[in-house]
């Protein structure tokens, strides 16, 4: 497995372990309770993570197309 691929564990952990830890109302961020802000933040960062993979990954299988 390429080292780059380990990046994907960050958002997974942020949801599955992070959300239980972030389960509180205060502090409010951007008007949202912290629990909701945390989830929304990681939805956005998941997109970013996949974008980073897409940008730096070698798509070798594309060649065989």
């Amino acid at each position: 497995m390429k080292p780059l691929y380990f990046l994907v564990f960050i958002p997974v952990v942020a949801f599955l372990i992070g959300v239980p830890l972030a389960n509180r109302i205060e502090p409010y961020v951007l008007g949202l309770p912290f629990s909701m802000f945390w989830t929304v933040l990681w939805v956005i960062l998941s997109s970013l993570t996949i974008f980073i993979l897409y940008r730096f990954d070698q798509h070798d299988e594309e060649v065989s197309d």
Partner: protein, 492 residues
């Protein structure tokens, strides 16, 4: 005839027209009708998949869930995000294999991977049983939205009839080309409506999102965090884990993946889809505003929170656009589901019986099965009885059972045998059936366990048992096949 009904009719006629235009002169074989000739770019594939993930449920059930349980709604965008991370690796693999072997249906994929026509048929039947209830739910949701948004000018039954006929006509004529075109219009409308309402309501009724949320925190703080019981953190984590594995397992998702032009199209898809799922945050904000603005909704009424709030705030013409968004958000998944059922039954059940069917005739047979599926769905929607409610309960658990066989089949060295894959799926499906038929859950079997165990999504147990059966049976049968082979070679 009122203005909102007129707007809905105008939008539907416009969509039907563009859908038929999109497929004009293109459909001469099954690969073209069902898969758009495998030439769909990133944007079209995106809207096809988005059309399946974000249905009319976003306007009804999801807002209802936000009204009753607030933050629990965010579980969907959480599992979509993780599913997209998995999809980044998974989808290109599926597409490659399908292109290489000219696969049409999901059943074909498993049939080829495990070299087992029986497995292909099993997958097809499980898939069809799982899709029909989703069709019925989409039609029901559409009937509700259209009849409410027309201020009762058209009954729910009439709306369901018209909707089914329209979707059937353009699907038969244009196939996936047509679905893709309507999906595009639907998503612009649905996303636009939700984004607008999710921001407008908090600003209209309060000074903005922040003060609306603070108000909710005063009145019902329990909806802003996960509770200790019920839709608790354990429920959230177990459901997200389960659902993120299942997002791309549907036969209709396979269809959209096969239809993609290249890997890039699918990868770009997985980048955008989490961002797009943020649409549900706005559905959640509408639900939270409704808690304060119309606090008296109970039970099934809460699914109408969005539309009731719109009634109180906007003119009828705007209500018409909400109705149109709900209408299209039901037609798109219906259309793709009909194509999926038609093509998979043709490819995995009809073709093995009559292998010398011409490509043109294959397409027409698929259209015929699509009509049959539409009639069954229409009948079940209008004559709702226990069976369909029962099937709705199990459809996701049915589809989940394909996961172990799929993942193992993508490994370079797959030790899972045909028998292993079949036993695992049969085991998982039987458990899902048994659990739904008898109401048996871990909670009824072991009521004394602490609630953090009882809140675990039961589908997860079924999936784990399925995976264990798959592995064990594979190890056993692998050995026996190896023995047979060595015996054979000794004899020779």
């Amino acid at each position: 005839m009122n203005i909102s009904l007129l707007i809905m009719i105008a939008v539907v006629i416009f969509c039907m027209y563009t859908a038929i235009q999109a497929g004009k002169g293109k459909n001469d074989k099954l690969e073209e009708w069902a898969l758009g000739g495998r030439g769909m770019g990133a944007i079209i594939t995106f809207f096809l998949l988005a059309g399946e993930f974000f249905t009319a449920f976003t306007l009804t059930g999801l807002v209802g869930l936000a009204y009753n349980s607030g933050i629990a709604t965010l579980y969907i965008m959480s599992y979509i995000s993780i599913a997209c991370i998995i999809g980044y690796f998974l989808l290109p693999k599926i597409r490659h294999y399908s292109k290489k072997h000219n696969l049409i249906s999901q059943g074909d994929f498993f049939e080829k991977k495990y070299n087992s026509p029986f497995l292909g048929k099993l997958i097809t039947i499980v898939g069809a049983i799982a899709i029909i209830p989703t069709l019925v739910m989409a039609l029901k949701g559409m009937g509700l939205i259209v009849s409410v948004a027309s201020y009762g000018a058209i009954s729910s039954t009439a709306a369901i009839w018209f909707g089914s006929i329209i979707v059937l006509i353009y699907t038969l004529i244009s196939g996936l080309h047509g679905s893709a075109r309507v999906a595009l219009i639907k998503d612009i409308l649905l996303f636009g409506v939700l984004l607008f309402l999710g921001l407008y309501f908090p600003f209209h009724y309060y000074d903005g999102v922040g003060s609306m949320v603070k108000e909710v925190a005063e009145v019902r703080p329990q909806v802003l965090i996960f509770p200790d019981k019920g839709l608790s953190l354990v429920w959230y984590v177990s459901t997200v884990v389960l659902m993120c594995l299942g997002l791309y397992l549907w036969p209709n998702s396979f269809l959209s993946i096969y239809a993609a032009k290249n890997d890039k199209a699918l990868r770009k898809n997985t980048i955008l889809m989490p961002l797009y799922s943020l649409m549900q945050l706005f559905a959640c904000l509408v639900g939270l505003t409704a808690i304060l603005a119309i606090p008296t909704l109970t039970g099934a009424e809460s699914d109408l929170a969005l539309i009731k709030l719109v009634f109180e705030t906007f003119d009828p013409w705007f209500v018409g656009f909400i109705g149109a968004a709900g209408l299209l958000a039901s037609l798109v998944p219906c259309s793709v589901a009909l194509i999926t059922i038609g093509s998979m039954i043709t490819s995995n059940i009809y073709m093995p019986l009559k292998p010398d069917t011409s490509v043109r005739k294959q397409m027409n047979i698929a259209r015929l099965f699509a009509i049959v599926a539409a009639i069954i769905s229409l009948y079940s929607t209008l004559n709702s009885h226990g069976a369909i409610v029962f099937l709705q309960l199990i459809s996701y658990n049915f589809i989940m059972q394909l996961f172990p066989a799929l993942i193992f089949s993508l490994q370079k060295k797959n030790f899972v045998t045909e028998q292993g894959a079949i036993s695992g799926i049969v085991m998982g499906v039987s458990l899902a059936l048994y659990s739904a038929a008898t109401g048996t859950t871990v909670a009824t079997l072991f009521p004394d366990l602490p609630s953090f165990i009882l809140d675990i999504n039961n589908g997860l147990y079924m999936l784990i048992i399925n995976a264990i059966v798959t592995v064990v049976v594979s190890l056993v049968t692998q050995k026996s096949t190896a023995e047979i082979k060595s015996l054979e070679s000794e004899i020779i």
